[in-house]
């Protein structure tokens, strides 16, 4: 999850927990059957994680972006990585080797060896493949110099050798993290790239709750280039797609996944901003009248109470918006807007698309029990996908700083017939473990059959340590996709077992049988959100 849920842990307890590993002595089960193996990870992959790190002094936010090459037989043959911890950067660190495992269910481990200025070290991840070209991951590093966690993903890089001209055409982006003062920051927008020159950039920023009275985009330009300060700058650009960028005056390092995706991490000014730019195609609706789509949405970030998640759905017919449901978890306080059991029918629901900024729009609706309407800015990268930012206006700026994803809801109704198969899961956020609230990251795999879940997973919460090979059970209750007159939605219960068990309850908004967004809707000691993705 995007990474703004930043209540931090007891440093001493963290170090102890991390070093202990917290895993217990249960003998792991035999490798599960499935189509994946070492040769499923073969090629060069761009990765990103967002989380936090403890380096012996304090727990601080941490964002990683990089590229590694897997040889298809369990070896890592090279790569490069950049990190930003609360504005302090470590740039262009060579990945000199490493190893990985993949079991039949797509789960595995990844170790990247680094040649860093302070000496050789390594970073570790738990992974689950969603296909042979991408997967989900959590940081499970616990060495004598640092302990870090975080959630992210990796995507096969294609189209190399890369040049700055590999980025071409319009892109939609979502960067989030911290501004130079350490306050939460979210930037969504779009730009056009051609030959390393960025033009026609527009963005909406929610920096520390400071937003315009009405959502108004700001124009910008920028550049993409090879990194002159990277001793391997030319090779890193060609082989790993790594270069530097300036967008609206902020400096970044970028990694070209291919022509359709670029990963960014800020490098100067004390900011810690990270995110992807995704190519925008020509299927986006030309105007509001052309909208005729149901969407699910998920945003996460910071509120005055702590971490906040909002997950929900709506249907757009032209400027009209119907069937709005939104589940909010505001630091352990749950609220349902619309839907069965909500505070009443929403009012004033509408959506609009910009005439001059392709794919940019605003959706708003009013919950009768809340003082001000919800308002979101979005940028569509296609007719069915986009990024979205919460710009709900309180009395003194935005009510929170949160952003996330928007996806078309198709192929419903959802039931045991079409929600079936093997899925990768990842969630991230905040939980209380052993008396301390801290970041929690989870990655796993589950087979869904007759809406029952069976699988395995890893979690890392500093106070609880790294817990590997948790047994995953549970079930999905198919309440509805939200379009019915009753406004019912789906729920999911996930039971985690290893030396004891715990159950986490979620609301689930299914975009299509291959993708769902979820967030916990019970329990005052957890604020997490995540995705469920069908393995291909």
């Amino acid at each position: 999850m995007k990474r703004l849920l930043l209540l931090l842990a007891s440093a001493a307890a963290l170090w102890t927990a991390a070093c202990n590993g917290g895993g217990g002595t249960v003998v792991p089960p035999p490798p599960p059957p499935g189509p994946f193996g070492l040769n499923s990870l073969n090629g060069t992959y761009a990765f990103v994680t967002n989380g936090e790190v403890f380096n012996g002094a304090a727990v601080t936010p941490l964002a990683r972006v990089g590229s590694f090459t897997a040889n298809g037989t369990g070896g890592i043959t090279g790569g490069v990585e950049d990190v930003n911890s609360a504005g302090a950067t470590g740039l262009a660190t060579p990945i000199t080797g490493g190893s990985y495992t993949v079991t039949g269910d797509g789960r595995g481990t990844l170790t990247l060896n680094l040649n860093s200025p302070g000496g050789a070290t390594s970073i570790n991840f738990a992974i689950v493949l969603t296909s042979n070209t991408d997967g989900l991951m959590i940081d499970e590093t616990s060495t004598n110099t640092q302990t870090s966690t975080g959630s992210g993903n990796f995507v096969l890089q294609t189209g190399g050798p890369f040049t700055v001209a590999s980025a071409s055409g319009p892109y939609v982006f979502d960067f989030s993290g911290l501004d130079g003062t350490g306050a939460p920051d979210s930037i969504v927008g779009e730009f056009n790239a051609s030959g390393g020159v960025i033009t026609a950039g527009v963005q909406d920023e929610n920096d520390n709750g400071n937003i315009p009275a009405t959502p108004t985009p700001v124009s910008f330009t920028g550049v993409l280039a090879a990194d002159p300060l990277d001793p391997n700058g030319a090779a890193d650009l060609s082989n790993f797609g790594r270069g530097i960028a300036t967008l609206n005056g902020i400096n970044y390092v970028f990694y070209l996944v291919g022509g359709n995706r670029i990963r960014f991490l800020s490098t100067t000014g004390g900011e810690m901003l990270a995110g992807d730019a995704v190519a925008q195609n020509n299927t986006i609706p030309a105007n509001t009248a052309a909208l005729n789509t149901s969407f699910v949405l998920i945003v996460s970030g910071s509120s005055g109470a702590g971490g906040v998640t909002r997950v929900g759905r709506f249907t757009a017919h032209g400027a009209s918006v119907t069937n709005v449901i939104l589940d909010t978890n505001n630091a352990g306080v749950f609220h349902l807007t619309g839907g069965t059991g909500g505070g009443g029918a929403v009012t004033g629901a509408s959506i609009s698309l910009d005439a001059v900024n392709p794919g940019r729009g605003v959706v708003t609706f009013k919950d009768p029990t809340l003082a001000v309407p919800f308002t979101f800015v979005f940028y569509l990268s296609s007719a069915s996908n986009g990024v979205i930012q919460d710009v709900s206006q309180g009395n003194q700026g935005a009510t929170d700083v949160a952003d996330g994803s928007l996806a078309a809801q198709t192929s419903g109704p959802f039931s045991s017939t079409n929600i079936a198969g093997t899925y990768a899961l990842n969630w991230s956020g905040l939980s209380v473990q052993n008396g301390v609230a801290d970041e929690e990251d989870f990655v796993g795999q589950a087979t869904i059959s007759n809406l029952g879940l069976t699988g395995a997973a890893d979690t890392f919460q500093f106070q609880n340590g790294i817990v590997t090979d948790l047994v995953v059970g549970g079930s999905i209750t198919a309440g509805g996709d939200g379009t019915g007159s009753g406004g019912a939605r789906n729920t999911m219960s996930v039971k985690l077992t290893k030396n004891g068990s715990s159950t986490v309850n979620f609301v689930v908004y299914v975009a299509n049988p291959g993708l769902a967004f979820f967030a916990n809707n019970q329990g005052a000691t957890r604020v997490v959100a995540g995705i469920l993705k069908l393995q291909q």
Binding site: L7, A57, G90, S302, A305, A331, V372, G394, V401, A524
Partner: protein
């Protein structure tokens, strides 16, 4: 926190004494229509009282650290948020401690909590939230040496 900063905060808190001291009304149910709101400096007040209980990870929302404070008007549940921030500042809250807390009442579900922005005990104060109400992290307490050390993070 630098001593000068602490003094400045203490001075601001003293001047704030001219403002209203929040009674136990902070515990009263919030009007329903206030549930989606942002922090507003103009609404800030301060509480004076003694610590009844400090819980670094309360089971009562909002998630995070809470202080139950005995004021002259009754007990108030104060949301501190990030217990790690207090620890990083070597700042403890123990039963019986007399404290002043600057903050404001925010809706939280069907009730309200007092969101603390600054907590002061004796001559020492710790800033918990920024002026927009967002919780600070321990990163805000790092010395320059500690910030430099973060450049070694991989």
């Amino acid at each position: 926190m630098k001593p000068t900063t602490q003094k400045r905060i203490a001075a601001l808190m003293f001047l704030s004494a001219l403002a209203l001291c929040l009674p136990a009304a902070a515990q009263q149910s919030a009007p329903i229509a206030q549930r989606l709101q942002s922090y507003d400096l103009s609404r800030e007040v301060f509480l004076v009282g003694s610590v009844v209980k400090f819980d670094p990870a309360s089971a009562t929302p909002p998630i995070g650290a809470h202080v139950l404070l005995q004021t002259s008007s009754g007990q108030v549940d104060v949301h501190i948020g990030n217990a790690q921030l207090l620890k990083a500042n070597h700042f403890e809250l123990n039963p019986g401690d007399n404290v002043r807390i600057v903050g404001e009442s925010l809706a939280s579900g069907d009730t309200a909590i007092f969101a603390a922005r600054i907590v002061q005990k004796g001559a020492r104060a710790v800033v918990l939230r920024n002026t927009k109400g967002f919780l600070l992290t321990a990163a805000s307490t790092l010395s320059q040496d500690q910030k430099d050390a973060l450049r070694g993070v991989r």
